[in-house]
C-alpha cells in the first residue's frame, strides 16, 4: 500500500459486519493499485488477520463469476487482477495486441514445407534459391512448423514439418485437406 492509507491504520476502525467482510474486501482490493498486506485489510475490516483470510477465501470463490482473480503475492499480500481466462479480450481491449502479417518469403517457405514435408533446410534453400534460416526461425517461433526428425545423411540435418497450429491457422482438418498441386507444379517441385 502507498503512504496515503498509512495514517488510517493507527485509528480505531469501525467493525465491518462478518457477513459483509468478503464484499468489503472486494471493494478495498478493487480501489487498491498494488498488492495489500492481509494485516492492513484486517485492520480496515476491524477483524483478526485469520478472519480476514477466511473472508478472502470467500471472496476468491465469488470473483471468478465476474472475470476476476484473487492473486497472492507471497504469503501476506493479495491483489485482485483480471482472470487469465479473459487475457485475449483484455489484451485486445487495452491495445496490447498487434496483428502481424506473414511475409511473402515466410509464406513461400511454409508452402514448400507443407507440400514437401519432412524437409531439411538444405533442401529448402535449394528450392527457394536463397538462404532460408531467418524465415525458418520465424515460422518456428510462430509455431507453424517444428522439427520432426533428422535425415539419414551426412550431418544428419534436421527435417521440418507443419504443426497442428498450421492446420488451425489455415482452417484445415488434416494435411490431406491441402489443395492438390497442379500437375506442372508437382513436376517442378519434384525436380527441386
Amino acid at each position: 500500500m502507498t503512504e496515503r492509507s498509512a495514517p488510517s491504520v493507527q485509528m480505531p476502525l469501525e467493525q465491518v459486519a462478518p457477513e459483509e467482510r468478503a464484499a468489503t474486501l472486494g471493494a478495498l482490493l478493487f480501489v487498491a493499485s498494488e498488492p495489500v498486506p492481509v494485516t492492513v485489510l484486517a485492520q480496515h475490516l476491524g477483524c483478526t488477520p485469520a478472519e480476514a483470510r477466511a473472508a478472502l477465501q470467500a471472496l476468491a470463490a465469488r470473483l471468478d463469476a465476474v472475470g476476476l482473480l484473487l492473486q497472492w503475492c507471497g504469503e501476506d499480500q493479495v491483489q485482485v487482477v483480471s482472470h487469465p481466462r479473459h487475457a485475449r479480450p483484455v489484451q485486445r481491449f487495452l491495445g496490447l495486441e498487434r496483428t502481424v502479417r506473414l511475409s511473402q518469403a515466410a509464406l513461400e517457405t511454409l508452402a514448400i514445407i507443407a507440400y514437401r514435408q519432412p524437409i531439411t533446410r538444405g533442401e529448402l534453400d535449394l528450392i527457394r534459391g536463397v538462404d532460408s534460416s531467418g524465415v525458418l526461425q520465424t515460422l518456428l517461433a510462430r509455431g507453424l512448423i517444428e522439427p520432426v526428425g533428422r535425415l539419414a545423411a551426412p550431418g544428419t540435418p534436421i527435417q521440418y514439418g507443419t504443426t497442428p497450429e498450421f492446420l488451425r491457422f489455415f482452417g484445415l482438418t488434416s494435411l490431406a485437406d491441402l489443395p492438390p498441386l497442379p500437375a506442372e507444379l508437382a513436376g517442378a517441385s519434384e525436380e527441386g
Binding site: 471493494a27 480501489v31 485475449r88 491495445g95 496490447l96 498487434r98 502481424v100 506473414l102 513461400e108
Partner: protein, 249 residues
C-alpha cells in the same frame, strides 16, 4: 401580546381613474394583456402616481401589497416598452414570465432531487473507481493475420516459377573495353549527336558505364565537346578535334 390584524388589502382595492380606463389596477393589466386596451394610451406615470396616493392614504402598508404592485408595474413596464419598440421581423421565442408558476413547480420538484442527493452525501454513499491500469512494460501479444488457403498454393507457385530462369545456363555478358567503346563512339558520331543515341538501342549497364568513361576521356583530350542542359538530361556531343589520335589512345 397584542396582535395587529390588518384588513385584507389587495391590489384590486386600488381604483385607478385614467383617460382610457377606470377600475382596479389588476384589471388594467389583464385587459392590456388580452389586447382589450392599447397600452400606448396608458400613462404609467399616472398609474404610479395614483397607486402612491392610494398607499399614502393607508395608515399601515403591508409589504405584500408593495411587492404585488412592483410585480404588476414591472409587467406593465415590460409590455409598454415592447409596444413602443419596433416589432422584430419574426417573433423571438422567449420564455414568458407567465411561466412563473410552472418554474416554481419545477423548482419544487428539483428540490426533492436535491434533498435526495444531500441525503446520500450525508450518509457518505460514495463509490470509487479503479486507478488507471499501468500498461508500460506489459508484453504486446502478436497475432498472425489470417491467410486464405489459396494464398499458400499461390506462394508455392510463385516460388517455383521464379526458380526456373535461374536454372538456365549461365551466359556471360560480352564485355566491351574502353578502347573499343571509344572507337564505337567516334564511328557512330558524325559531326554532332546525342550521347545516348551513340550507345545503341539497348545498352547494358556496362556499356553505359564504359561509354561514359570513354566520353570523359574524349572530352579531356579535346576530341569532343559536350553540353548537358539539365541534371540527368540529354548530353549533346560534337567533334572539335582529330579522331585519329583519340582512337589510338
Amino acid at each position: 401580546m397584542a396582535v395587529t390584524v390588518y384588513p385584507p388589502l389587495r391590489l384590486a382595492d386600488c381604483q385607478l381613474r385614467l383617460p382610457t380606463f377606470e377600475g382596479p389596477l389588476d384589471v388594467l393589466l389583464r385587459m392590456i394583456e388580452r389586447s382589450q386596451l392599447d397600452i400606448t394610451g396608458v400613462s404609467l406615470v399616472a398609474v404610479t402616481d395614483q397607486f402612491l396616493a392610494y398607499v399614502a392614504a393607508l395608515s399601515d402598508v403591508p409589504p405584500e401589497l408593495l411587492a404585488e404592485f412592483t410585480a404588476v408595474a414591472s409587467r406593465l413596464l415590460a409590455l409598454k416598452s415592447r409596444s413602443l419598440l419596433p416589432a422584430p421581423p419574426q417573433p423571438i421565442e422567449e420564455p414568458e414570465p407567465d411561466d412563473l408558476t410552472r418554474q416554481l413547480q419545477a423548482y419544487q420538484a428539483v428540490r426533492a432531487g436535491a434533498a435526495y442527493l444531500q441525503g446520500r452525501e450525508r450518509e457518505g454513499l460514495r463509490s470509487f473507481g479503479r486507478p488507471p491500469a499501468r500498461l508500460e512494460g506489459l508484453p504486446v501479444a502478436e497475432h498472425l493475420a489470417p491467410v486464405p488457403l489459396p494464398a499458400l498454393l499461390q506462394a508455392l507457385w510463385r516460388c517455383l516459377s521464379r526458380r526456373r530462369p535461374a536454372r538456365q545456363a549461365y551466359r556471360p555478358a560480352p564485355i566491351i573495353t574502353l578502347a573499343e567503346m571509344t572507337r564505337r563512339l567516334l564511328a557512330r558520331l558524325g559531326q554532332r549527336g546525342r550521347f545516348r543515341a551513340l550507345l545503341g538501342d539497348a545498352p547494358s549497364r556496362t556499356e553505359y558505364l564504359v561509354g561514359f568513361i570513354a566520353l570523359l576521356s574524349l572530352l579531356r583530350q579535346r576530341v569532343l565537346d559536350a553540353t548537358q542542359e539539365t541534371l540527368f538530361g540529354e548530353i549533346e556531343v560534337w567533334r572539335i578535334g582529330s579522331a585519329a589520335e583519340a582512337a589510338d589512345d
